[in-house]
Subunit: 136 residues, 2 copies
Amino acid sequence: MSRVAPLAIVLAPGGPRPIVRQIADQIRLAITTGELAHGARLPSVRALAGQLLVNSNTVARAYSDLASEGWLQGQHGQGMFVAGQQGRLSQTERRRRLDEAVGAFVATIVEVDLPPSIALAAVTAALQDLDARRVA
Amino acid sequence: MSRVAPLAIVLAPGGPRPIVRQIADQIRLAITTGELAHGARLPSVRALAGQLLVNSNTVARAYSDLASEGWLQGQHGQGMFVAGQQGRLSQTERRRRLDEAVGAFVATIVEVDLPPSIALAAVTAALQDLDARRVA
DNA sequence: AAAGTGTACCATGATACATAGTACACTTCT
DNA sequence: AGAAGTGTACTATGTATCATGGTACACTTT
């Protein structure tokens, strides 16, 4: 039925971030920015696995995780589709995850011994990039 | 010889952050803020392990990691001491780690679907707290 | 000599990650 | 009807990290 939306995903194997998360991260980002519209169809598990030179189960895990979080919706035999946005997480859970992320980030800043101004500038730039892509 | 500096460390077992890193993080932070002065002596491996209700090897690993990073210096039979600060990491390595941390942070922001303004505010507050503690 | 120190091993269990293969239920196209 | 393509669910294997537990050694201080 619907055409499959192409997905430009770049993996960094061997990095500290697991492949499953890298895939999920980039799909999440594509949805957030609007690059993947509501209702768009994603590549099949096997197709994306072939494209990324990764096992099918790895892609299936990423899809499954995103479906659990409410980003995707899978139809048996049809494919995976971008779900409509809804309240996916509770406010307290959001806050908890945010604080956790901030804590990990600050820990890294201390670890590499960088001045807070540099760190803040880097985050600001990254968030502005995010906002810029969001319009597109 | 020198008195052992007391260490107020709070662990969150079961959290996503490994115990070894939690210990290392808080010692690093204490050194950065000046709470642990240059030359100060840390609790022994066994003492801190007893205090935190953690295995001695876990504390030893944290100490060893910090020593590898240049924060601590161990003397056989004497104890662990806070080392004088020196260029611990190359500039490119610093930058790489920073970018990595920023990437992970932004990924979380997208994941929990929070507006960048909130995220930026949280980071700003955390970095200000860090600076505030630094004077003490 | 004894006690306390860091350090180095080895072994165990638990968990996460990634791969590999197989199978099943379903939808769509031919 | 049949074939092909879909998501999903298993099981198994291998690797890596994390944390614990125990032992031993070299060293310094008391």
